[in-house]
Symmetry: D2
Subunit: 285 residues, 4 copies
């Protein structure tokens, strides 16, 4: 009956299981530091409607599974996420879709078995898997970059609320979050991540920008040109405003040298660059 | 040509303009404390492809507009968001869709013109407006609740990775985020927010739970039953685990009295409750 | 020998043991939600100089002790901190000083055994205990308040770097952190906390302010006048700037009605109000 | 009169002025990214007691001063902090002490005038200056390190609350905050920072640890041995617990390979290493 109250889309899982895997070859160790989130969708109407949990894989079990699987080889985070997602869909009839999202922290060596965490940048992946389809979206977040020239902004619409002055030279700064969708699962994950990251940084640095939108598009395009395994990329670029401080009241010049780095509000530029004709996959993200 | 690199979905705007509006009736003041985010979509290919900003309303202008509009009556946050969204779509041919998201902080009076911020709870709205369609999704976030009994969890699937013991009595704690979609814009926003919030709290408190999923469903259903203006509600409920501490090593009993409140990992239960037959509106969220 | 490298002050402990204690009287429950941090000082030179841990009470044991002690009656957080501190100093010869700091989250009832967390305000205590001396410093943090008039600021020093305009009417907003030292341990902790908190709010609201420093002093003084058990109070008050938005470019007036709430930088006003002649106790804080 | 309510210690200032300074030599740029906090103490009783601001340098002026001074050469953050502190004490009779604290974010080049922020590590300084004395405390924070072996913990006190098993091999992980006090102001700040940081990392990596306290002491000692300009160092090292996951229920071994990285509670080890006979300087910190 129309208007009857019904259950819609739903998923559940264990979020943020933080697992560190140490690989030992004699005294030389290596580490993999991952924050793993699992979300399952499937035949869970009973749990919602009557509290019947007979179809439910507890989130505690999901956490245990992450730890148990980490005892084997991990490979890249995409490999690990795929292995987990296939397990949940393959082993449990009631699970129709598994989404496994992993963020990986980077560490550099301080010696044979000591490490320093290198920064705010995290590598990401989200695997979405059903019996019929598997998608892999990977990415990077927390990449804070700025350029101190080669950025202009002018020619925009002026209305009664416009006070912004046009500029031919400004700081452009952002904290990049980029996620890209792979064509399929036959990919050299590590190489693609390195290449995509390299393209993002290089293009940001080298491109002479007339708007943050233009920079975003060029960055996305560079990734698609360099990585044929990638069919679509979504970029989110907050415009971390650096305002030129007016030093005239103090009898000083400021030839674009002293800036106030503001927190809020901030511009937020979001866009997708993709290969024409490739079907969208909204469920992959 | 298939495979050609093209621009996909995109939007841009000014995020988190934090505006405080004071209303003065003699010595008696009232305040509205809002964090406003605007995102515009439209004919912005030029900005991306060639850096041509002639179709662009600068995010700085968007911020100014928020402040200027705040000089008039605000009404409820839904009213304010609607007014802003209609302005951007109505006044600029190049803007085809405006999304205005507002979070409002609650304050209680400490006197005629002094106020205390009341908590972590924020009221939310997101208005998505085009020339042809307007949707309003409102909600609440940061509502931290727990119940110390009337929560069970058993009867779930056991596999080789299951170690969780079944329980007939546990703490259930969550930090609720709920967002609901309104049927149209002819709504008493304040009354609906109060009623929805009341239903969410009351149902959480009163329902005897066999799973967090069941509680989620009952909470969503209660909102739909009470508020006919609401056609769909999405709830996100992290399971903030409270583990019963094993005090036996210290010669002590623990009849569900001493708990360790863990941070991570946490269960994450997400679900939708809706009226049957109402068309989905993915762009509203 | 002068210049020789030596060990100086040191302490160690378990920080942020988050314990929730449920008290059950039939179906009517009550909860105590505490984040407990322990720090011990004493005869720990061996652990530092040679890795000899024979004097060390492991931080894991400290955590266990917090949970075990929570099985008994808790009382107020000051009572619980005193009990823990006395245990560590009394039971272990190598522990000369124990500092136990607790932050307590407030919850209000949603029914007999359901609760809603009420806000960002946390009640604090730090007990510092040695064989010879015990001090109790309690306080409140996260109390966000603002007043929309009755605040002036003028008559200050002007130099070549001054651009601020004097004002006879501004918003004053802060996130108060206040900590006060008790005369001794024979105190009705709950009553004093309620009274101090009441005085802080009322004075903030009622005082006509010529500077944030003046408001701070009046708030501290009000607490000392009302609570004779308190000998000293330290207040930290960030000046959460609310800037009057210039709406003239848009043809609008702004009679102190529309404000931009800034994040950083912020003023930070810190001060102590105390009873004359009472000896300082730097180790208490 | 004893018991009379009086003003105690107080200071005020502008916190977290985030200034970015760009240095341009043709197309080759360099940046200095600093978060500057100023706090002044002096003859401010009038502001507190009667709201008389005639001795007050507004925090807004302090902010302006930071920006104006940034138009000159910056040097190291210690140089900049000294210059600001001397200005406030030297130019204003009512200011008796200035404390200037700066945190600096590190950036690496992505090209001639593009930069990537390198991580969570921030360099710190606090200059405390009066007409008669100047102290400089510098440091580092956010240095997240771990070692996957060469860490033991055993031989500690056991009591009725002890359940921790002794271990000959564990992960040791921390997020280091270290601050050190310089002998005077005639120091090569950049070289000392580099050397101290190098010693901290190397010692953490190379030292075979019997307790976190021992590692802390060795790290501090190494800094003092290498840097004769440093007279005292304070280290704060949270023990970021990595628990070996019990995989036996799943029929798996775990030879120290799979770890759960916990958030809270955590051990917190704090200690000072110093040169014998050097007077303490509590006001420097």
């Amino acid at each position: 009956m129309s208007g009857e109250i019904v259950l819609g889309d739903n998923q559940y899982g264990k979020a943020e299981t933080h697992v560190v895997r140490v690989f030992k070859r004699g005294d030389t160790h290596d580490i993999k530091d991952m924050n793993v989130s699992v979300a399952l969708a499937g035949d869970f109407a009973g749990a919602h409607l009557t509290g019947d949990n007979s179809n439910v894989v507890p989130t505690d079990t999901q956490k245990n599974t992450v730890f148990a699987f980490a005892a084997d080889e991990i490979g890249e985070i995409e490999d690990f996420a795929l292995r987990l997602a296939r397990h949940f869909v393959g082993d449990f009839e009631t699970v129709h879709r598994a989404r496994v999202a992993i963020e990986e922290f980077a560490w550099s060596g301080l010696g044979e078995h000591a490490f320093e965490r290198t920064g705010e940048v995290r590598r990401l992946t989200t695997v979405s898997h059903t019996a019929g389809a598997t998608s892999v979206v990977s990415g990077i977040t927390g990449l804070v970059v700025q350029k101190t020239t080669d950025s202009e902004f002018h020619g925009y619409i002026k209305d009664r609320y416009t006070t912004l002055a046009e500029t031919r030279d400004r700081i452009m700064a952002t904290s990049l979050a980029a996620r890209w969708r792979y064509r399929d699962t036959g990919v050299d994950w590590a190489r693609c991540y390195e290449e995509a990251t390299r393209q993002l940084k290089q293009t940001f640095a080298a491109h002479h920008s007339l708007s943050l939108q233009q920079t975003l598009y060029e960055m996305g395009k560079a990734v698609l040109v360099a990585c044929e395994e990638i069919v679509e990329i979504r970029l989110s670029m907050p415009n971390k405003h650096h305002f030129t401080v007016d030093l005239k009241p103090f009898g000083l010049e400021n030839p674009q040298e002293v800036f106030y780095a503001a927190d809020r509000p901030y511009g937020l530029i979001e866009g997708t660059v993709k290969r024409d004709g490739v079907p969208d996959a909204p469920e992959a993200w």
